[in-house]
């Protein structure tokens, strides 16, 4: 019977090896080895994004040289490694992630350090941080992260295509309704019913349901993050507004057309290639790594997403999110980690890093750096972030579950023209108990 035993073991191994996702090898860079003798203090920084690890390393080398430590930057780090590191005993001293989505879950699981005690020391001036990005780090009354670079979204339109369709190229749509009307004029269908140009695809390049929902006047959580409001008017209206761009045309045709676009960062990106006339995109687009690189001659404009006609007071509404820094709870020398983090958050360093990467600075002082005003399109985003109507997603411990569920509902509503209300109702009934449980109510 030995073969059976081996078979069993073999199968157990086969079944229980956690399926590590194979993803493209990321360029991991370590600091240049310094051949100094003695006990050298090493601080490790992990960043989950970064096209330019060398630039990040040289930025942190400034801190290393000034403080006689070695700072090792690892960028980009895959999300799965982050989970493993947070739960292990040797996490990085400072972790920077592309968004606060998981911070609520990590805070609940005691994987990241609350920063309030450190903040009392005054090294970081909270008043200097823009309100909306800062609020995304607040979980149950405590700060678990600090925003470093920030992202927000606006409407991009292709002026050439506007002219071609008989629209004023300098005049973006003024209301959400007008946006839909423009989109209709900007969509071209050939004799076989195939779409050859499309005015607007609401979930291109990815879902902006959060932005549309705040524009409709609400969010899917109550302000204190204890109640889900999935069946509220703003969520339903946002989905219905999105739906028309698929279901008034032909879902299959729109999907075929949009899935034939090339890569996001490539000249074949649907917007760069002039196949899509309007899109919602982030502040990095006008920068050197995107439109300037792939389609420098693109004739386009940027404006805030317009409000619904009935609510002009919502002009300038936007959803702010983006890079946040935190200290894992397993870090041994938290003082040293905090010192490094406070340095990272200083206006000069924020300015330097965000100018290099064309991201919005989280610091108000940094935002005064004249280099941020050099590109008029970037200024649109800078002003959106400071707009009183700017808001941030609310942190809860079940963000990931809620976002997955909403993503699936959005897909069903847009791609099968389903009625959003029963789907939202079912999700509300499924997720509210999860939220109650996670919050310990």
């Amino acid at each position: 019977m030995w073969w059976m035993v081996f078979l069993v073991f073999g199968l157990v191994l086969a079944a229980c090896t956690p399926p590590a996702p194979t993803s493209a090898p990321g360029g991991e860079s370590a600091a240049p080895a310094q051949a100094t003798g003695g006990e050298e203090k090493v601080l490790r920084v992990w960043i989950t994004w970064g096209d330019n690890p060398a630039q990040l390393q040289s930025l942190f080398n400034q801190y290393g040289e000034a403080n006689n430590v070695r700072v090792e930057v690892n960028s980009p780090v895959e999300d799965d490694k982050v989970i493993a590191a947070l739960s292990g005993t040797e996490p990085p001293d400072v972790l920077v992630t592309g968004g606060p989505d998981s911070v609520g879950t990590w805070a609940r699981e005691n994987l990241v350090t609350p920063l309030d005690d450190f903040l009392e020391g005054g090294e970081v001036d909270l008043a200097d941080i823009f309100e909306a990005p800062l609020s995304q780090c607040l979980y149950q009354g405590k700060y678990y992260c600090l925003p470093w670079g920030t992202d927000t979204y606006a409407l991009f339109w292709n002026k050439d295509l506007f002219e071609e369709a008989g629209l004023d190229p300098e005049q973006p749509p003024q209301t959400l309704e007008e946006l839909a009307e423009f989109a209709r004029k900007l969509t071209k269908v050939d004799d076989n019913g195939q779409i050859t140009q499309v005015g607007f695809i609401p979930d291109f390049s990815w879902s902006h349901l959060g932005l549309y929902t705040v524009m409709m006047g609400g969010y899917w959580y109550s302000e204190d993050g204890t109640q889900l409001q999935l069946t509220s008017e703003p969520v339903i209206n946002a989905l219905k507004w999105e739906q028309q761009f698929y279901c008034d045309y032909n879902v299959d045709e729109v999907l075929r057309f949009s899935s034939s676009f090339g890569g996001y960062a490539s000249p074949d990106n649907g917007f760069y290639a002039g196949k899509i006339a309007m899109q919602v995109e982030g502040e990095w687009q006008p920068g050197p790594n995107f439109i300037q690189k792939y389609k420098p001659e693109l004739y386009y404009g940027v404006a805030p997403l317009p409000p619904p006609a009935a609510h002009p007071e919502r002009a300038g509404t936007n959803l702010v999110s983006g890079t946040v820094a935190m200290i894992p709870s397993g870090v041994k020398d938290k003082e040293a980690a905090w010192k490094l983090m406070a340095w990272m958050m200083s206006p000069e360093i924020v300015a330097e890093e965000m100018v290099a990467n064309f991201n919005l600075p989280s610091s108000k002082k940094a935002a005064e750096d004249p280099r941020f005003r050099e590109n008029e399109k970037f200024v649109v985003f800078l002003e959106l972030m400071g707009n009183p109507n700017a808001r941030a997603p609310i942190l809860t411990p079940i963000n990931a579950e809620v976002e997955t569920e909403l993503g699936q509902i959005e897909e069903q509503v847009l791609h099968t023209c389903a009625d959003p209300e029963p789907l939202l109702q079912a999700a509300q009934e499924k997720l509210q108990p999860l939220l109650d449980k996670a919050l310990g109510n």
Binding site: A15, D80, E109, L111, S205
Partner: protein, 319 residues
């Protein structure tokens, strides 16, 4: 033979009768593989048993464990997405695995024909297997592009409007099966080895008796490679039950940001993908452990059934 003076009595039955020499050899052997044994206990057996324990708990990495009995299993049975992921995986096993066996067997037959350039063809058919799965999946995303992709362009040549492969919930799994068929090089190699093991004399004898190519294929080739088929089948079934990387990359390819696992419309939410989501996205390690154990039991049952059934359809020379 490792044990030179094998005792008359079966060693497993009464170890006390082992000669000192046998015993010494046993200890030497064990010493040589002791590192492996340590590794096995530490990194395989222990985590496995731990996961069995976790599957009866609510476990969120750093929080204390809460024993909840069979609740994870009960919740799984009630979870529609669990059944969905099981269906999706079953689809790949039932349709994808036999298809890949047939295709690789046919390819092996072709590659076994003695023609000039035979080795070059073998290299060409094997090449896709050494391309990293991420790269080949991305390549296939391009081939399957509904408007400008290679496949639909070819279909358009013959007047067929190809489907929207990866974005259509009906076609997403067939797309992945197609992708899998492209990389069957390993299976082809194993079949080739089996084909070359078939005694030429049998073939010649059959030919002299007037057996056609078709009869030789059915009466000689297929029965003689049936143990190879069994091996490939079991390996294929086990691998497909754990199908992950391609689906993960496909989802990422459909939506540039965010996980989008299971897109479109959960048609590619495979068992391991769902397990990954529960464990590593939602941090529900207990729930994910229960999923892993159910998968283990399913794979065990399938393998045993295949082995049992194989007694009726495999043929071992001299066996």
């Amino acid at each position: 033979m490792a044990l030179t003076n094998t005792p008359r009595v079966h060693p497993g039955r009464s170890p006390k009768r082992w000669s000192p020499r046998t015993r010494r050899q046993l200890w030497t052997g064990l010493a040589f593989i002791s590192l492996w044994i340590c590794g096995f206990f530490l990194f395989n057996l222990y985590p496995m048993l731990a996961s069995l324990y976790y599957s009866f708990t609510e476990y969120h990495i750093k929080q204390p464990l809460v024993w909840i009995g069979s609740l994870n299993y009960v919740n799984l049975v009630r979870d529609p997405l669990f059944w969905r992921s099981l269906y999706n995986t079953g689809y790949m096993v039932v349709i994808g695995v036999p298809l890949s066996l047939i295709v690789s067997f046919i390819c092996a037959l072709l590659l076994n024909i003695k023609i000039p350039g035979q080795s070059i063809y073998r290299v060409i058919y094997f090449l896709p297997s050494i391309v990293p799965v991420v790269a080949s999946t991305l390549l296939w995303l391009w081939i399957l592009n509904p408007n400008s992709g290679l496949l639909n362009t070819l279909l358009a040549e013959v007047g067929i409007r190809g489907p929207n492969w990866t974005r259509d919930p009906f076609w997403a799994k067939p797309s992945l099966i197609l992708l899998g068929l492209w990389g069957v090089g390993n299976t082809i190699i194993i079949y080739l080895a089996g084909l070359q093991d078939i005694p030429q004399t049998l073939m010649e004898a059959a030919e002299l008796d007037g057996a056609s190519w078709w009869q030789r294929l059915w009466k000689i080739t297929i029965p003689l490679v049936s143990p190879i088929t069994l091996f490939n089948l079991i390996i294929g079934v086990i691998a497909t039950f754990q199908y992950f990387a391609q689906a993960y990359v496909l989802s990422a390819g459909i939506s540039p940001v965010g996980s989008g696992l299971g897109a479109p419309l959960n048609s590619t939410l495979f068992y391991s993908v769902y397990l990954y989501q529960q464990g590593f996205v939602y941090l529900k390690m207990g729930y994910a452990s229960a999923q892993a154990w159910i998968l283990f039991v399913i794979i065990l049952i399938c393998t045993v059934l295949l082995l049992r059934s194989s007694e009726h359809w495999t043929y071992y020379e001299g066996g």
